[in-house]
Symmetry: C2
Subunit: 348 residues, 2 copies
C-alpha cells in the first residue's frame, strides 16, 4: 500500500480538491472538465495518506447514493450498479452507497429455501468485483450482500470497501424484521458483530441496515463508537392495497425517526432505498441524507432511479454537538434498563 506522509498538510479533506469532478465528461453546466488524470491520481494518494495516519479525522466527504430498480437477473443488477458507481465517481463521489440486497429483487416477499442459493460468502463473488472497482476509481463503497456464512447460517450483511480495494468493515444486520411480505426472519440469522464504526479514508463510517432504522439504540451505539455518518442500505416499500393515508404516515414515520437519530447523536444519516414495483411491494425510493440537525440535504424521487451526490461537512458534527451537547448530559448510570425486554410489573 502506498504510504504518502508528505501529503499530511492537505489530506484531511478526503478525495478530490474542493469536490472538483475527476471525469472528463461535461459537467451539468455543459463546461468541459479538464485535468482529469492528474486530479484522479492525486486524490488517491491523499486518500491513502489519510488511511495510514489514523489520528486525523476526515473532515469532509462527497457521498453518492445509488437508488435503483432491480430486475430478476442478479448479474444485470450488478452491472447496473457498477455503471452507476462509475458515473457517481465521475461526478466526484468519494463514498458510494448501494441499496439493501442490490444484486437481487427483494426475495423475502416469500419463504422459499431455494433462495438461499442467492447467498454468497464475504469476501466472495460480489466483493471480488467491487473491490477492484473501488481501487481503480479511488472511491470507497458501502455495499449490501446476502452472506452465506455456513450451511444454515445466512446474514443480511453490509461491507465497507476502502479506496485501496480492501474490505475495511463488515456489519451483519442486527434487527431482523418479519411482517407480511417481509419474511426476513426466515432468511437472515441476526447479526453477531454488534454495532461498530469503521475507520476508513473517507471517515468513520457506521453501517446499519434497513430495519435497524427503527431502533434508537442502534444509532446511539454506532455513534458512541465514533461514527460520523450512519449509512442504511434499505428496501422499504408499501404493500399494495394500503390506503394513501397509511402509506403517507408510514413514509413520514420512517423519515422522521431517522432524522431523529441524526439530531439525538449530532451525526449525518444516509438512507439508500430501492425503487420500483416488485411483486406486491412498491418500494419508496426517496433515499435521503440529513445533517446533524436532522435537516434533509438531498432526497431522491419516489418513482424513479436516481443517484444522489452530496457533500457532507463532518466539521458540522462538532459544531452541532458544542451547541446542543446532548452527549455531555447522558445519565449513563440510569440506562441499565435498556437491556431489559420489558418491565412486566408495569402491566399490573
Amino acid at each position: 500500500m502506498n504510504k504518502a506522509p508528505f501529503l499530511l498538510a492537505g489530506m484531511i479533506t478526503a478525495g478530490s480538491d474542493s469536490g472538483q469532478p475527476r471525469s472528463s465528461r461535461a459537467d451539468p453546466d455543459g463546461r468541459p472538465r479538464t485535468g482529469t488524470r492528474l486530479i484522479y491520481r492525486f486524490s488517491r494518494l491523499r486518500a491513502f495518506a489519510c488511511y495510514n495516519l489514523a489520528p486525523l479525522m476526515v473532515r469532509q466527504v462527497r457521498l453518492g447514493l445509488i437508488q435503483m430498480r432491480c430486475g430478476p437477473t442478479p448479474d444485470e443488477n450488478l452491472d447496473k450498479a457498477l455503471q452507476r458507481i462509475r458515473e457517481a465517481a465521475s461526478d466526484g463521489a468519494q463514498l458510494i452507497c448501494l441499496q439493501e440486497l442490490f444484486r437481487t429483487q427483494y426475495f423475502p416477499q416469500r419463504e422459499d429455501a431455494s433462495f438461499f442459493d442467492l447467498a454468497e460468502p464475504v469476501p466472495g463473488p460480489t466483493t471480488r468485483v467491487l473491490c477492484p472497482v473501488a481501487q481503480e476509481l479511488g472511491v470507497a463503497l458501502a455495499a449490501s450482500v446476502f452472506e452465506r456464512r455456513a450451511p444454515g447460517i445466512y446474514h443480511n450483511t453490509a461491507v465497507l470497501i476502502d479506496v485501496d480495494g480492501t474490505i475495511t468493515g463488515t456489519y451483519r444486520k442486527m434487527h431482523i424484521p418479519d411482517d407480511p411480505y417481509f419474511y426476513e426472519k426466515f432468511y437472515f440469522t441476526p447479526g453477531d458483530l454488534g454495532f461498530q464504526s469503521h475507520t476508513s479514508s473517507v471517515g468513520n463510517i457506521g453501517l446499519l441496515v434497513c430495519w435497524d432504522q427503527w431502533f434508537p439504540e442502534a444509532a446511539r451505539l454506532t455513534a458512541l463508537r465514533g461514527a460520523q455518518i450512519l449509512i442504511y442500505p434499505t428496501a422499504i416499500g408499501w404493500l399494495q392495497g394500503e390506503t394513501a393515508e397509511v402509506c403517507q404516515a408510514q413514509h413520514s414515520a420512517w423519515e422522521t425517526i431517522q432524522r431523529g437519530h441524526a439530531v439525538a447523536n449530532g451525526i449525518f444519516v444516509a438512507a439508500v432505498n430501492r425503487v420500483g414495483v416488485e411483486g406486491k411491494l412498491d418500494f419508496w425510493g426517496q433515499s435521503f441524507v440529513c445533517d446533524p440537525f436532522g435537516r434533509i440535504l438531498v432526497k431522491g424521487a419516489a418513482d424513479r432511479e436516481e443517484t444522489l451526490i452530496v457533500e457532507c461537512d463532518f466539521t458540522r458534527i462538532e459544531e452541532t454537538r458544542r451547541n446542543w451537547p446532548f452527549l455531555r448530559d447522558r445519565r449513563i448510570e440510569a440506562y441499565g434498563g435498556i437491556s431489559v425486554r420489558f418491565s412486566d410489573s408495569s402491566q399490573e
Copy 2:
C-alpha cells in the same frame, strides 16, 4: 376512597361518556350543554373504579395542554393556570398538563442564588392548591414544580395528581441542560428517581421534562415501564438574535426527535411549552400531541396562549405495535454499551 367495582363494565374509557363535556357552558357549536352535574359525578366514580382495579388498562383519555405566558408574580401565574385548568375541565379534558415551571418566569436565564427562594417542598404550597382542584373537578393534573428537597438540593420536578387529589407520581428531571441563558445546572440537582410510568385512573403516564426530550434513552425506558403517553412540560425558546434559519432548524429538530420517540416506542407524546418573550428568550409555544405513528394530532400557536384539547385513543398503541413490532425485535443482549459514556478507542 370510594370503591365502585360495580362500574367495571364501562370504566375502561376514563372520564365522561364519549368525551361529552361536563360543563353547562355552550359548546363550540353554540348548543347548550346539559346534564352537567350527573355526568360529572358519574365520571368521578368511573375514574375511581379504574384507579382501584389496576389490571384494566385505560383505553382512552381526553388530554388538555395549557400553553401560557408567565408574568413576574408567581401567584398570578398560578391563578391563571387554575383558571385554565377549570376551562379545560369544562371542555372535557381528563388529564390536564401544565408547562415547565409554570409558576414563575424562566429564572435560569441567569445564575442568582436568591432564586432558590422560589423553590418549595413536594408536597408543598403548589400541590396543596392543585390537589383539591383535581379532586373537585375530577381531573388528573401533570404539573411542574421547582422542588426544594433539602438545603442545597433542588430539583426540576413533575408531579402527577390523580382525580382523587392524591399525588400518584413524582419525577425529577434526569437530564439537566446548561447553555447560554439556560443555566439549569446551577439550579437543579439531576434527578435520582429514574424513569418511571405512573399508574393512574387516566392511564399509565410517563412524566419527563424538557431537556429529556433529546434523549431516546429516556423515552425508551419510560415506555418499557409501560407508559402509554410521554408528557414533557417544557420551556424552550430562541435566544434573541439568532437567524431565522437557525430558529427554524432548532424548532424542527425539537419536534422531529419527539415524533421519533413516538414512532420508536409506539406511544403517544405530548409537549407543553411556554410562550412569550422573557428577557432574552422568545419561547416557542407550539405545544403538540402526536400519536404512536408520530403524526401530530394537535399543535399550538407560536405566539399566543392556547389550551389544546385532544382525544388520545390508547388502543392505537397496541394496533401500531402489532403492525410495526419494534419492541419484539430489540437486541437487548447487544445494548450494554448504552451505559458507556463513549467508546474512546474509536477516536484513534
